[in-house]
Symmetry: C2
Subunit: 301 residues, 2 copies
Amino acid sequence: MEPFISNIDFEVPKQKNNIKQYKNFNKIFKKTGILETFKIKDNNSVIDLALKICNRNLKNLKNCDTLIFVTQTPTYLLPSCSSIVQGKLGLKQEILTFDINMGCSGFVHGLSIASSLIKSKVSKNVALICADTYSHYFTKNNKNKFIFSDAASLTLIKRRKKKSIGPFLFGTDGNNFDKIIISKNKNNNLEFNMSGSDVYLFTLNKIPTLVKNYLKIIKNKNFDFYIFHQASRLILESLRNKLDINKKKFVIDLKYGNTTSSSIPIALKNMIDNKKIKKNQKILVCGFGVGLAWGITSIEI
Amino acid sequence: MEPFISNIDFEVPKQKNNIKQYKNFNKIFKKTGILETFKIKDNNSVIDLALKICNRNLKNLKNCDTLIFVTQTPTYLLPSCSSIVQGKLGLKQEILTFDINMGCSGFVHGLSIASSLIKSKVSKNVALICADTYSHYFTKNNKNKFIFSDAASLTLIKRRKKKSIGPFLFGTDGNNFDKIIISKNKNNNLEFNMSGSDVYLFTLNKIPTLVKNYLKIIKNKNFDFYIFHQASRLILESLRNKLDINKKKFVIDLKYGNTTSSSIPIALKNMIDNKKIKKNQKILVCGFGVGLAWGITSIEI
């Protein structure tokens, strides 16, 4: 049996960062394409955000035998968010739960693990939650609050006869691990930092080659849509130019900001809801960022 | 092709907790069976410990296309330990890396994911690192320092024709998530806490039923050895009694303390080195703890 994506849903918090009040707003917006970002309340956690979507999809979740929670901002160091979600939702105890620590490529990584668990018959119905709350690690003057939004997404992966996910290619450049990092600042508080120019150069250096290599190894190269991690308008448009992808096929969806591992499922969900993606259409998806790490695959919805 | 375990190695820090100086040492030792525990230097992290084993096994690691790092005490919230290890070891960039947040059942969880990645042809050679440094989260009077040791293990999983791993069964009881937890204490510092009596009751309630269910679904029930998570002598002997397992087949190896997700690979490695396990012998392995979560499988070395 082959894995396929049966449902996608997502959630962003109600609270927004007022980006327009920032003095360099126009200059920043030109680069990012992001009008507003969303932040969770300080006393709420990634689990609260995930539970909102899960409660809307409880009937489907009750059938899941596997719950994967992709996050870099867990509520506790231990136990895992996935086990807490199992308890809060009252899911059956005969369930495989674990958390994966991955960033902006986390959806592709999680999808690969979910697919492998299904193909190898360990799992039948997998719930893949991607959720991060970077805002907890932004100090007052941290400019990343104008780029990154807190968000959670839920992707349900089930079985059918027809193949619709894969193959996958992955990579890691750990020598640049410190280019996107949460570490202690001068005041001994944990703070998120990103070297934007280094990440831009890394992306433009790695991802076009990755896409070209991927297109070499797969049979059907006729993609209807290309959904890359929604990092920023500058990064996306630079990638599109370098790869010479048709504008109509290249997805840019920055309505909710850079939502890390949820950016691809959010873009997918919005296209499904807007009836832009039709059944059996082929979509190339590619995540990249924290690690630095990257992953690419193709899917049909 | 089928996954199999080709190598195991492990590392504990040199520094020890002087348990015998504790006034109730004899009372504690009677329960735990643990004479000494090992702790990393305060300024060292789980990655430093993992790199010690990895550098000893570098030739094998250079061939790996997948690196999974199971930890609950990562060096950074982001990026993942696995990506940093890729960089520090100079492994090839065409590698799938990710961290899994799981506790004392983490080896079984990680082995399952590694096996599924191999079976589904995403991976060929997987390096599974399990490593935790709970000692960073023990305050001065935290009694858990007499139970838990910092440790790291490396398990290499490759492909061959003969089946030797699986099937797997998993479970989660997230309603008891707070029975083993790292959370903020009164002084606003992160501290590890365990409700020992609750964990004992959970284990004695869940694990014998799990083992009995597992034995029902598999064909070959003749196990040569039973390796459970090496939690403590009391828990292990209670499980052995309840399941009526022959003493000679039931492994108790608490030389290095409770080493969380490394306790099963450490026990395996010691048995291999001491020539207790022979080729083609069947071993039942079962992990349980943080989550609360559990996992069971069978392997041949």
